[in-house]
């Protein structure tokens, strides 16, 4: 069964900050959803393959080349922070 610690851990893995109140309500919601999906345990799935795609999937290759619409300005205009045209983010290995 899902515990309050599980919820904290999941929020960290999913990179979502949760308030204490939301942790509680999520715990309740997840319990109710997970008890609903429990019914899958009734199904005998021995020897059954996992279905990953609706239509038979095969590898499809194409050259990774810029198309006519990819001049990039519309993309770089979206940056929340930039410096000299480059995307700016916080240091990945910074100490607190």
């Amino acid at each position: 069964m899902i515990t309050p610690e599980d919820i904290k851990k999941l929020a960290e893995l999913a990179r979502i900050h949760l308030t204490e109140k939301e942790e509680k309500s999520l715990e309740k919601d997840l319990k109710s959803i997970l008890s609903y999906v429990e019914k899958l345990k009734e199904v005998d799935v021995s020897g059954v393959h996992e279905m990953t795609h609706a239509v038979a999937a095969k590898n499809v290759f194409r050259g990774d080349e810029p198309g006519e619409e990819d001049d990039g300005t519309l993309l770089t205009e979206q940056f929340p922070e930039e410096e000299r045209g480059y995307l700016k983010v916080k240091g990945v290995f910074e100490r607190d």
């Binding site: 996992e50 279905m51 239509v55």
Partner: protein, 462 residues
Amino acid sequence: MIKETIAKLEKGEISARELVSGYLDTIKKKDPSLNAYREVFDDAMEEAEKIDLKIKHGDTPRPLEGIPFAIKDNILIKGKMAGAASKILEGYTASYDAACIKKLREAGAIFLGRTNMDEFAMGSSTENSAYGATKNPHDESRVPGGSSGGSAVAVAADMAMAALGSDTGGSIRQPAAFCGVVGLKPTYGAVSRSGLIAMASSLDQIGPIAKTVADAEVVFEAIKGSDLRDATSVQNPKSKSQVPKVIGIPKEYFLKEGMDAEVLKKVEEAIEFLKEKGFEIKEVSLPYTQYALAAYYIVMPAEVSANLARFDGMRYGPRAEEKNLFGVYAKTREKGFGPEVRRRIVLGTYVLSAGYYDAYYGRAQKVRYLIRKDFENEFKNVDVILTPTAPTLPFKIGEKTKDPLSMYLEDIFTVPANLAGVPAMSVPFGEARGLPVGIQLIAPWFEERRLFEVGKVLENVL
């Protein structure tokens, strides 16, 4: 409507500008209370003018020449904002056209605006939008269904001639049923998903919402086909079948519990009607249907948690201020995502975590295979399967927001088609208690043609 309108355009009985301005007037009048549109574009008249010039010049009209469309807010149109009705994409402008938009453009369509939806297509009522609920034009105290509620309302209330929606577990068909219009979820892979803001990639499909089955067919013909930018899209094989004659009624879809008795009565009427029209009716069995919703609520959130990892405030959308990178991610996602989206991301993270994969995701994918097999088996005996689209009539705004599971049960009849990948369409069939009822038709893979043929019979009930 589409074919007749284009004939009028060609004969000069109406201009594209008149057509567009008529719809814009209706939007101005009705949308302040319905809230179907998130944005009405300012360049639709300009596009209409270009089309009028072409027609005047004597060019043969293309299949969608001058037809005004509403586009769901999760489908990209180059240079226009697209936000999936989420705060996390506030201000985001698309840098390219979705494949289906490119095809509509080439077919002559005009885009009137982008429509409201449940945030990231997660919901069955359009109440989960970060920009307010959309209302059902048949009764404004009720929901229009979802997640493509804005697109369904735009068509139902004559604020667009046709619309595009997306369907992951019923998001085209259920709002179409609730609003009394036609909604088609094509075969998985029939339409490119390039440029669709992904929710659950193995289930998502783009499809038309329209006033008539013939219109849905014209739009589907225009947007289908393979595309190198979606490796799961395929060249639609030609339909091999004869005219559909045998309609299967799966007993598992006729629940007493949780099913509105009047909806059930309408579905029975529809079956009688088709019998009178000469179709053979056969009872069929899809025994694994009862597990479809449970499998869906594992597969879908798992894919959601992976797909929505990209929304982290780094490359686009608003970015929260925090002292380190982890803090920026966590705060941006807390502020940007609504409660239902957060719920599904956390649930998806759980079912994919180490130690739980086999118990949840692996098992659900196996059950999914069995659900697909069910359809394969019965489509040897029948041409089309008929079911209700939704178990209820349009419900009151706020009625189901407190209990997520009761909202999820709305999708109980629509989810199996997404899991199996088969095409399915909701066709309006009269009303119960003054509210529209939809009938769902399901066909084998790439046999959309059968849906159109039976649908055209069914919609002529009046």
